[in-house]
Symmetry: C2
Subunit: 353 residues, 2 copies
């Protein structure tokens, strides 16, 4: 930055001391390395206003309509897990990315990359689950593609879903709209999806099965937007967890975010698994939760709308937006100290979605 | 079929004698096995009118606008080849699928699945080529996604591009619109992309380098549509080659298609390579050619428009649509005999796009 002050982009995405010349697993983590890739390679190449807002969806104008677009590839391993599978996840992830922009999802495209030798029955089960999830979320799969790669050149099945939706006039949700004084809301307990996947993958057994929270959040966001249009932005804290979602908002909005640890819920069994595995739930992926930044004047209305929805029954105020510590997320711990909640640096849980 | 006549779907997509219980490379070929997968698994699951027209793009209505959608994953090997790379191919393929529906491409989403260990420089070159191709084709990359899989669980780089475009009122191009008497036009010589990839992959040397024909065809299709709106349908004969594209049209339109072998151009070096490798150019992929079915009354106008465009300079009438041999493509050979041109059965050239 020309004024000599350490810039926000640098704070949230430090210049690497060692130039990385190959792709690491962490480049797909949703954390610091992903941000590096974005800032070093993708943003300079494709610079345009839609992309540089860094939302989970782009909103473009087509013949005067506001169309939302989002794309996601799913490489989750294993393909089936408690609470879902790669098919339902591929629908929920994309419907949610549209919902976070205030869009109503209308259509999906679906593209499969299949490894030679995949059992036909596995494909059939995944397709049927994907279709059910799409029907439940009110989106239509209108076109698709299938590619097959040789055995050993893929890993069973990868799915890309791209979603198209419409955004009503007057709705303006964007990660760069948070302002000092705003309130941070979280729709429920965190960490379930990541731990469910990890437990299934590693064959870990806990006292009770931990189930992914994978769900389509479009009706929850619709209720929230009906309660108030003074919502600044919403994010579903997937890869990189709650911490990465909030760090992105802090960086994009050039604000600080101060969390209250005691307000962030984590189910006992998830907490136990995290302790055992040395994981911090703030960095573990969710697939059916959202975080919202709202004008303080409407906090009550929005919170009530969330709590009256089955996917937001445990919604809480978890923090506030501040004019200090710009670009940073901090947390008042249960011990009364304050710590910085960084973005995820490496990749604690690869192939979680 | 209830009338006891062998149905068209059965003709173009025979019921397998042995039920296949695993995915084979041929399921990604664009030929018979791909059609099986479509008819056995995808169409029954996602049944809706947009999908069942089986065009390369779906045309949907959003707030009264006609929006075209198409998705494609690219798994081409090697990543760089004479005439292009996976980045430019991912743009051309998707822009062309939109153009074949008469759509003007507006926006692209791009999703990368990267194998851990890919050289950062390779990614940088691909992204820069993708961006150049997008700028040349007048489309904007507005949102994206990156996933990384472990070494040995991918193959360098896979790219999905999804394209969104608009279709003007009055344009109705669809594979089910061919009628007996229509004329079949082909924009130039065939087989170049497939042979260029194969030669590069296998380290084959020919007297002169064979270069992929990879190109964005949107300005060619625009000129053709300006010349006449009486174009029934257009297809870019990619995976599965000219034969598969025409077989799909014959099946969807319930017509016969009769080709004249002497009118189908194949460059000498491609012909030589095909003979050496035991390949039939009718089944080899193209990435910068199109086949169009047109009303006989406008053949001259459309052909002139094609020939005046740099990508259609060698356009030819290659056949006609008939009311006999319904669902079949036949060819009058240079020896004066007639043979059936089937869909590709296995996969003669995997990972060509």
């Amino acid at each position: 930055m020309s004024n000599g002050v350490k810039g926000l982009a640098e704070l949230s995405c430090p210049t690497p001391l060692v130039v990385r010349d190959t792709i690491l697993l962490g480049h797909g983590s949703g954390g610091t390395l992903s941000a590096e890739l974005l800032h070093d390679i993708f943003l300079p190449a494709f610079q345009n206003p839609e992309l540089s807002r860094l939302n989970d969806q782009a909103i473009v104008s087509v013949n005067g309509s506001r169309i939302a677009l989002t794309t996601d590839s799913f490489v989750v391993k294993p393909l089936f897990f408690p609470g879902g599978d790669i098919g339902s996840l591929a629908v929920h992830g994309t419907v949610n990315d549209l919902a976070m922009g205030g869009a109503t999802a209308l259509f999906l495209t679906v593209a499969f990359i299949i490894e030679e030798g995949l059992a036909m029955d596995v494909l059939r089960r995944v397709v049927s689950s994907l279709q059910r999830a799409a029907a439940d979320a009110g989106v239509k799969v209108v076109t698709g593609d299938t590619k097959v790669v040789e055995k050993g050149k893929g890993d069973g099945l990868f799915i890309n879903t791209t979603g198209i939706g419409v955004v009503a006039e007057g709705i303006e949700l964007s990660a760069d709209r948070a302002r000092a004084g705003d309130i941070v809301l979280l729709s429920g307990p965190i960490g379930e999806h990541g731990i469910a996947i990890l437990a299934q993958r590693e064959g870990l057994e806990f006292e009770s099965t931990i189930t992914s929270d994978s769900a389509a959040l479009h009706t929850l966001t619709a209720e929230m937007l009906k309660a108030s249009s003074e919502i600044r932005c919403m994010r579903d804290p997937t890869r990189g967890g709650l911490s990465s979602a909030l760090n992105e908002i802090a960086a994009q909005s050039k604000v600080g975010i101060e969390l209250d640890e005691s307000a962030i819920q984590v189910r006992e069994e998830v907490k136990g698994a995290c302790e055992m595995l040395g994981l911090d739930p703030l960095y573990v992926a969710n697939e059916g939760k959202l975080v919202a930044i709202v004008d303080p004047a409407v906090t009550g209305k929005v919170l009530a709308a969330m709590r009256s929805h089955r996917l937001g029954g445990q919604a809480q105020v978890i923090g506030r937006v501040t004019a200090k510590n710009l670009g940073l997320v901090t947390m008042r711990t249960q011990l009364g100290t304050t710590r910085i909640v960084d973005m995820l640096a490496g990749d604690q849980l690869p192939r979680i979605c």
